[in-house]
Subunit: 111 residues, 2 copies
DNA sequence: TGAGCTACCTCGCCTGTCAAGGTATTTTCG
DNA sequence: CGAAAATACCTTGACAGGCGAGGTAGCTCA
């Protein structure tokens, strides 16, 4: 089963930040890793991905720099900032909380 | 901690359908029950709620009728349809799947 | 009387997703 | 060698859902 876009909406930034916690990386690779980790059930569309990078950088959550693969470097690397790490910590807590709430509301678990 | 709107986006319909599985109800009451169940961490804004009712009814997931609290009945009751029940079953499965995927992506569990 | 609650509803803005389209380099394979 | 596919980046405009703001109306209680 694949997961609809609206369900993932709002988790995009957290997913990217979490991936960057494993080290600097560039767009294409980040997306592939996310797809693999999700077992193919989910992957960002490119437009979504680059929109998110832009937003994250504007908000100071990540910084970027061009790779030095020689002339014609075509990879823009991203690194998580301190603010990004704090944001991720908050996002993780929110996700944990969200699971509890939605289990109660959608699965009718516990009262 | 409260949960941001974008995180809940896309779960609105499932939450309402799940609530209607416990019996017919009307907007105001549905919303109060949801808030209680969520421990106050979450509640629909009215505009969101009525937009969702409209969408769900147009899609055949629910039907509505005016209550008979005497003259000037001011409550519109909603009932889940067979299609709505099927949709809810699918939504529940999707939510279960979503939890696995997001645990892997955000919390870096397994994988 | 009037404050506050119940109960419904609409309009228009905002934000995130993404289809579509574009550019440029490198690799692979016949 | 030539072509196709993959890598790698990016923008624009449309669309959908959430919701702030605003509106109507009845009931209750001090």
């Amino acid at each position: 089963m694949s997961i609809s876009a609206d369900i993932l909406r709002g988790h995009t930034d957290a997913i990217i930040l979490a991936q960057l916690m494993t080290g600097d990386s560039y767009g294409y690779e980040i997306n592939k890793r996310i797809s693999q980790r999700a077992g193919g059930a989910y992957g960002f569309k490119e437009a979504t991905l680059y929109t998110a990078f832009k937003r994250l950088e504007q908000n100071g959550m990540i910084t970027s720099y061009w790779g030095d693969e020689g002339p014609g470097a075509r990879r823009r690397y991203y690194a998580i900032t301190q603010a990004g790490m704090r944001q991720l910590a908050a996002d993780r807590q929110e996700w944990t909380e969200t699971k509890k709430v939605l289990d109660a509301l959608i699965l009718q678990k516990e009262g």
